[in-house]
Symmetry: C2
Subunit: 331 residues, 2 copies
């Protein structure tokens, strides 16, 4: 099937309509009108088969996740999603694969009123690059550099499930008596279907802290905030929210000697969580918490921004030694 | 070398500064301010090694071409370049390769005042996806759908050289006594270093025609204009500008029976020309020509928009039968 037929069958007809898309898919460029007074937030992510998702991942999950990880970047700036470009390289024009891929992609696109405005379809090893644009008040964007000493540090949800999901997909799970098949499914879902925390990010633009989305692991990503803000962080491991699945798997592992028999190293560096990690000044804490509660958004305080550089992890008031490094493409 | 070191060494320090880039490389998103009254033109192109450029292409040429083909899309809408995101997937973190790549990329970025605002660097088969944003008056963007019956059809430069360059790189050139080593170098340069016709595109926004950039071959791309505008085209082959190199190579080929012993089929479908093909109403013709001349921009009238669908090619007033198909990724 020729490239233009693919565009006409799978991309052009399935996109949502937005009034600000003056020329959509099918010309040399898309033409877009911008809302007065707003700045643009733009982000790009590439997902490569066998690197960013296991080769066995189904097309629908790849489509969903390709967009979810980009939306997560908009969330981490507090931006409102608007337009997306999709560059997809495919070994062959597999119509059923593309249909499933776009099914997953469009679930999220519809949910967040995101118009597909263009892209490129090429033949090659499976790889997806998504470029997303959102709107944000320039002065309120959630920059990494805005953490201040004394701020509390929060995350928007459970950490560590996706890394168990990844082990599950590769049949690398160790036998754990409490870890059920249901737990396994939940963790694989956290790996393949991360929930971009768009609403939480937008609410945070009313406050003054820093934010990042956790893609490379909590320690690595919090470290980006610390470096950009020239501060450090003190994390209390017992405050980090864990799912029952993670407790069942990472608790009492034979090899887990640190942190009360919980394998914190894996939890905090596994990555793919796509929760937000953000900071909030004490004087805004109560108001921020109220606003999140009124939108039924869970947040968990896990520590404090401190003056001394680096990240310290406490467990029962004892300092734990953990390697902070996240996923690195070029070792 | 870790991904963040690559960003800090090769991407962040080499980009030009623009006042409208409020947050550049290094946060979850770039934050950009938009000029009032202007619409955005956004385009994405993927270049895959062995598909869009021969595997033997040097890093500097790949860097140049990756940006040139995107700029060419902005040119085809009449837009002014502003920001670019670069997603690059590399088999390994080859510092000398990256340095050369960015050298080629930045030559064009500097020339067109284009800021690198973000991207993604991943490990995988060599592939580059560039997403470019420019500014344009929404009502003046050069859409493919704006060709009218009676319009003259123009191109901005010689057609067919890049396809000879491609044959040269693959050692597939047939022996042609008049075709010199200099000719060969010129054609390879046209393949690897296309000149994006940004200024020509911007000038054309003062007129009312359609435009496209020639990437897949003149016939295939002109056909996009015809389909989008619900018109046809009549091309006079003798008016198509050819370089001396193309005349030396494609003239008097043993297998070339059509068009006075010139292999028009290859010239018109070879692709990679990256000239603009555009239309102009007769009443604007003289004024448009004057404006182009005053900016030292060559244009060549090659035919007329007609009512009957499809593209007809005349040579000495005889209709030639040519296959219109351009490059297709999924045959």
């Amino acid at each position: 099937m020729p490239e233009f037929d693919l565009i006409n069958q799978f991309f052009k007809p399935t996109t949502i309509k937005r009034d600000d898309v003056l020329v959509g898919i099918g010309d040399d460029c898309a033409i877009l009108s911008t809302p007065p007074g707003k700045a643009l937030a733009i982000s790009t992510d590439t997902l490569i088969s066998g690197v960013h998702f296991p080769q066995s991942t189904c097309a629908e999950d790849i489509g969903y996740k390709s967009l979810a990880v980009n939306l997560s970047d908009l969330a981490a700036m507090g931006a409102e999603p608007a337009w997306v470009s999709l560059a997809i390289s495919l070994p062959q024009a597999d119509e059923s694969w593309l249909k499933q891929f776009m099914h997953g992609f469009n679930q999220l696109a519809r949910q967040f009123n995101l118009a597909l405005i263009g892209g490129d379809t090429t033949q090659g090893p499976l790889s997806i690059t998504v470029n997303i644009t959102g709107f944000v008040d320039a002065s309120r964007a959630l920059k990494r550099s805005q953490a201040k000493v004394g701020d509390s540090i929060f995350v928007t949800g459970n950490i560590g499930d996706a890394s168990i999901g990844l082990k599950a997909v590769f049949n690398q799970l160790k036998s754990q008596p409490l870890f059920t098949d249901n737990n396994k499914s939940e963790c694989i879902k956290r790996l393949n279907r991360p929930v971009p925390r768009i609403k939480a990010g937008q609410l945070l633009t009313s406050f003054s802290g820093a934010a990042i989305d956790i893609s490379d692991g909590l320690l690595a990503d919090l470290n980006h905030i610390c470096e950009a803000s020239s501060v450090g962080a003190l994390i209390n491991l017992q405050q980090i929210p864990l799912s029952q699945a993670a407790l069942n798997y990472y608790g009492n592992l034979p090899g887990a000697q640190i942190g009360g028999h919980i394998d914190w190293q894996s939890i905090l560096t596994g990555g793919d969580d796509y929760e937000l990690c953000f900071t909030c000044a004490d004087q805004q804490y109560a108001q921020m918490q109220d606003m999140m509660e009124s939108h039924n958004i869970d947040i968990f305080c896990i520590g404090k921004i401190i003056d001394e550089p680096g990240i310290k992890c406490l467990h029962n008031e004892t300092l734990m030694s953990l390697d902070h490094t996240g996923y690195n493409h070029f070792k």
